[in-house]
């Protein structure tokens, strides 16, 4: 009896010990990061953030969280907002709209935040809307879906370049290159399907037609079948809308099939993991994105250049790798709110904060220069985008 019991207990004890040990290790590692604002005389301004720190978008939420924590320290070291320290309460939505919504309610009810950053994903951002509207609190989303600002809500702002900005930019470059027939490939997840829709809706304006349309699912491991279909069409270029690791597979499969067609990606490919994953298959790959990838594209004497290089330096030093575009979106979201707060007098309301964010004019961020209007809550223009090409494994400016 005892023997059998012991036999059962032993493995479990080992596992439990391991788990407890790793938990303890983790909590020690984490405890240092949350000691942002120092005690100052004035009461803190609290902002909420709903980010995907686990689930499908965990890889996006992480740099966003890093950025917010890092910038928060700097803001508070500089005296906060008019003497008020700033506090950000970060909630994980686990890439689940229902949890994003619950987190929003908690931030509003229990934490009493003045504004909310997030969510990381489009679905989560949309899931939050009902409670945002009810509470009348401004939200600055870091999700890229067109629907976030296209389905307009006066309370909701968006920092990433939405597809309705990037698609026309990309198509105009295609037109300039004399391309009239494209093959369109996108993933069936939120980002790809959204981009695919916008491409299909706008190609006509650029005298381009989609002669082949192929989709793949997030997580697919091979696109040669889809590309063989593309190969059989008379497309002059391939336009790929995807933000995941499938992009690298498409590039590699095209190389394998000896397809010489130019391949155009999108801002979703502005990640080091893509260039690394695709290896030399990525050579000549073009994609439109903001200027942060090569800060000199801002113009070395510009304000944007200084802001961006400063951010890249500090981020790289602190986290050991260069920030990606998602980090930039979080940076912009945080500062759009903080700058608006700085412009407001003591005792402002959330409605006044919303109005002030909307009055943002020529804010120099990482994603670009933001100017919101009553009908445009994305705030950037095609001037904030440049076309990159991958050359020798690195990003270079693709001049037309």
């Amino acid at each position: 009896m005892t023997g059998k019991w012991l036999q059962r207990m032993l493995p479990a004890t080992v596992v439990l010990t391991l788990v407890v040990a790793s938990l303890a290790g983790c909590s020690q590692a984490d405890s240092s990061s949350d000691e942002g604002g120092e005690e100052t005389a004035k009461e803190p301004y609290t902002i909420g953030a709903v980010l995907s720190l686990s689930g499908t978008y965990a890889g996006l939420g992480e740099p966003e969280k890093n950025t917010i924590e890092m910038e928060l320290e700097r803001i508070n070291e500089d005296g906060g907002v008019n003497g008020h320290p700033v506090k950000v309460v970060i909630e994980d939505d686990a890439t689940d709209p229902a949890k994003a919504q619950a987190a929003t309610v908690r931030l509003i009810e229990q934490v009493d935040v003045l504004a909310i950053i997030g969510a990381t994903g489009t679905g989560q951002t949309m899931g939050m809307r009902g409670d945002i509207d009810r509470a009348g609190i401004p939200q600055v989303s870091v999700a890229g879906g067109t629907v976030v600002t296209a389905q307009f809500d006066p309370l909701v702002f968006q920092t990433p370049w939405s597809n309705s900005l990037v698609v026309p930019f990309t198509l105009s470059r295609l037109r300039d290159a004399g391309i009239t027939k494209i093959a369109l490939m996108y993933d069936t997840g939120g980002f790809g399907a959204d981009g695919g829709d916008v491409v299909k809706a706008t190609v006509g304006e650029y005298g381009i037609s989609v002669v082949a349309e192929q989709t793949f699912n997030p997580g697919d491991t091979d696109m040669t079948a889809q590309l063989t279909m593309v190969k059989g069409s008379d497309a002059e270029a391939v336009v790929l809308w995807n933000a995941g690791k499938e992009s690298a597979i498409v590039a590699k499969n095209m190389q394998q099939l000896s397809m010489m067609l130019p391949l155009y990606g999108c801002h979703g490919n502005a990640r080091a993991e893509f260039a690394e994953g695709a290896g030399d298959a990525a050579e000549g790959f073009r994609f439109a994105a903001g200027k942060i990838l090569l800060p000199e594209t801002y113009g070395t004497d510009s304000m944007s250049y200084r802001v961006a290089t400063d951010f890249v330096e500090r981020y790289t030093e602190r986290y050991g790798k260069a920030p990606d575009t998602f980090a930039g979106h979080a940076y912009d979201a945080l500062y759009l709110i903080v700058e608006a707060m700085r412009r407001l007098p003591e005792g402002f309301t959330t409605a006044e904060l919303r109005d002030e964010i909307e009055r943002t004019d020529d804010f120099v961020g990482i994603g670009g220069i933001f100017t919101f209007t009553e009908s445009d809550h994305n705030g950037m223009s095609e001037d904030d985008l440049v076309m990159y090409r991958i050359q020798d494994g690195a990003w270079v400016l693709d001049t037309p």
């Binding site: 059962r8 984490d30 309460v89 009810e109 679905g123 899931g127």
Partner: protein, 332 residues
Amino acid sequence: MRWTRRRLGITLLGVMGIAIAAVPFLTDDRYLLKVLTFVGVNAIVVAGLALLFGYAGQISLGHAAFFGLGAYMSAYLTTTHQTPWLLAVLAGTGIAAAGGLLLALPSLRLKGHYLAMATLGFNEIMSVLFVELRGITGGNNGLSGIPFPSIGSFVIDTPAGIYLLVWGVAALAFLGAANLVRTRPGRAMRALHGSELGAVASGVDTTRLKVQVFALSAALAGLAGALYAHAVGFISPTQFSLEFSILLVAMVVVGGTGSLVGPFFAAVVLTLLQYVHALIPGLGNDVASVIQDWEVDISGMVMILTVIFLPGGFAALVRRKRIGVAVDGETV
């Protein structure tokens, strides 16, 4: 002795019921009410799944899809066709039941693993359809602006009202399930779990019974999904994934087979685990984020450890003690 014991059980359940009903009158914390509403929604699904898995011994890895079917049906009807809420919810329940029936008819001839595969495949197929049938589901962007529950001109638009609605339905679901397992169809289910041959020899049409239980549990999942859609106001395909199906099964397993109370408590605990950082006052931010970060690991470990050390789930732990004191075969 037996009577007092049973009375004690009923009294405890009554007290619990009153406590649950009293929550919205004691607090106006919208967050707490919202989270507890999610608990109630999951509890409704678990009531059906406990019958299916815990009593009839049939596994399903596709209940998130039925949940989604109910949610989308009701949401679509109310947003696009202005169907009255009650009708839409019934339609959501109905389509989930019909889906369950359609899947069950061929699948339930299959045994354990094959049934797991068939239901899992169904969940994957529905996940694709939820994304691709954009005209109905809104695709990846989801369906937003789902109206609050209403009957005629009476609209339930407060968190407290929705909480009471969901928990009212959950209470009915559990009451019904508890009644069911103590009468003819429920006994037949338990018999099926014990010895399929014996059940057949007792004149139980086992295939028909399995199909019925499966459809019933699918209907409950659909009902929960429909309620959820109107409670949340927004639904999108990621919510009805295989992971959710697995989490639901985990609730029943951890709670215990052949019990309703066990899975109920497991549903409460495993749902709250996802929000625990916000519910325990005074919990440090760092501890909270660790718990959030490690939630999946914790659920997985709890599942494994429960199955290893408490084969019948937590319900068996309680029951074992009870049998030690008085012989009372009835399980509530």
